[in-house]
Symmetry: C2
Subunit: 337 residues, 2 copies
Amino acid sequence: MTAVLDSLQQGRQAVQPALRAALDRLDPTSRSIAYYHFGWTDLDGNPASAGGGKAVRPALALLSAEAAGAQPSAGLPGAVAVELVHNFSLLHDDLMDGDTERRHRPTVWAVHGAASAILTGDAMLSLAQEVLLDGDGPGAIAAARLLSEAVNELIRGQVLDVAFEQRNDVTLDECLDMAAGKTGALLSASSAIGAVLAGAPRETVDALAGFGADLGLAFQLVDDLLGIWGEPATTGKPVYSDLRARKKSLPVTYSITHGGAIGRELAEWLAAPEEPGEDGVRHAADLIEQAGGRRWALDEAHRRMAAGQQKLTDAEVPDRVREDLLSLARFIVTRES
Amino acid sequence: MTAVLDSLQQGRQAVQPALRAALDRLDPTSRSIAYYHFGWTDLDGNPASAGGGKAVRPALALLSAEAAGAQPSAGLPGAVAVELVHNFSLLHDDLMDGDTERRHRPTVWAVHGAASAILTGDAMLSLAQEVLLDGDGPGAIAAARLLSEAVNELIRGQVLDVAFEQRNDVTLDECLDMAAGKTGALLSASSAIGAVLAGAPRETVDALAGFGADLGLAFQLVDDLLGIWGEPATTGKPVYSDLRARKKSLPVTYSITHGGAIGRELAEWLAAPEEPGEDGVRHAADLIEQAGGRRWALDEAHRRMAAGQQKLTDAEVPDRVREDLLSLARFIVTRES
């Protein structure tokens, strides 16, 4: 795992100056809010190093350029762009979800108000495209197209997520489709954008994009498991937190739709109007286990990881780069460090 | 004026199918919200023709292609893109400003909630770039860059507008700069994007962009005058509405910064903590008049229109197209029909 942390560290060091340069094009207000969001300044605007996330998407983008035989630097505009899009979505999601804390710090909307979160997010989304369009290689416009499609998918996934909260008849396929949009699309684009910028052939790009989409699904499945049975120390959330919020996550949806009588009991529990008690959430977790939802999610995550690995092998991605991509993928999915 | 209305009508007829085709790429939820926002459906999703605005930006984009000697259709992707960006900003602005009504119908956030307004706006912004990047001409990437910069300026202007509400020391230059971003940038891009798509020389593009920026300032000046002395029948707002909201608009800021003792009296009135009464707003309007703010705004609007006209003449835009652009500009500024 040390190698992965080194590679993430190197990625952050390579990307941060370019990310800062991009953000410095914003108006002073949006820039200072962005600096706070990335953990580079504290609430008073003083320098800080709160750690603005692990920056796994930029690391994927740089490796993606190497997968196409180019220098990591060829993927740099893509690395900056995917990190901007990821953080655009965090700014807007935190507001929509009413989340007041991220990375152990108050969220932007909670500190600066809704308008600041909306506008800074909008500015980052627009800036992401600008960074790519500033490039003059033949890959620039293709990379901008790739990112545009990923953003549309990301938004589509988020729209479905919001809509599913109001529904009791979501199928497993719908839930997988939502996760592919919300989580898979940007990890897929991150894994392919460096190769696109490097002018890689279609098959290489498709393989990398497919690997990233598989990684996204595997990550979401494990994230959903952690949301139910996760260690608070690892996840930063109390155990059973997703059940307390009655979130129709992938293991829950599998259990409801494939768990027969146990699944129906779980569905009734989810639809009950009263606030769930501590015994209730523990019982619901047991139902998911009995209905096979936990087992399925773990097996499906392994299947996705294996499928992603196979795509890299088929595309003849150089051994060293493939190993780095797989180590990073395992790190992202398991969150061990 | 009939010619302008004909040209707007033709513009809408040319652009609407392409706009619909673009919106049809969105997920069904965002698409149906967009249809409602554009006035194509009612709250129940049934077909309607509520009129989704005058579509002056698409009309400018089509004329802009003609200004470069191309067919209007060369500007079509640009026309769709600027209309998408305009409506992205309306969706987010209505939410941030808490406005519950637009074009005599409930706003999207008021009907569908904040998350829908944020996500549908995000989707339109991303879609605008996608529409341009779908083009394969050499102008496509230049048009995408132009739009990106305009979006950044638009957001910068909106950020300044929000920030100015908390300040009592805004200068006239700052206020003009804010209007150039919030109102001028997208009208400027609309006036140039067709020429960019048609591969026009730099001087033509710059002249058209400059004309659009002048038009934007003139529009904002007149809009600010209407916000104080406008006829409710024309503006849809009660007389003195901007004074009631104590908005530091351009004529107000001019009066405060250039009106000597009268300006200081106006500044004190604006800073007073109590809710302004009917006599108070009438008195404030008189102060603006006495301080020369009304006269200045009207004169400045005329100067901007003349400057814009001169740019079109210098750039040798064909007579017929120049006349059409100027008629459209006068229509936008005066809102007479």
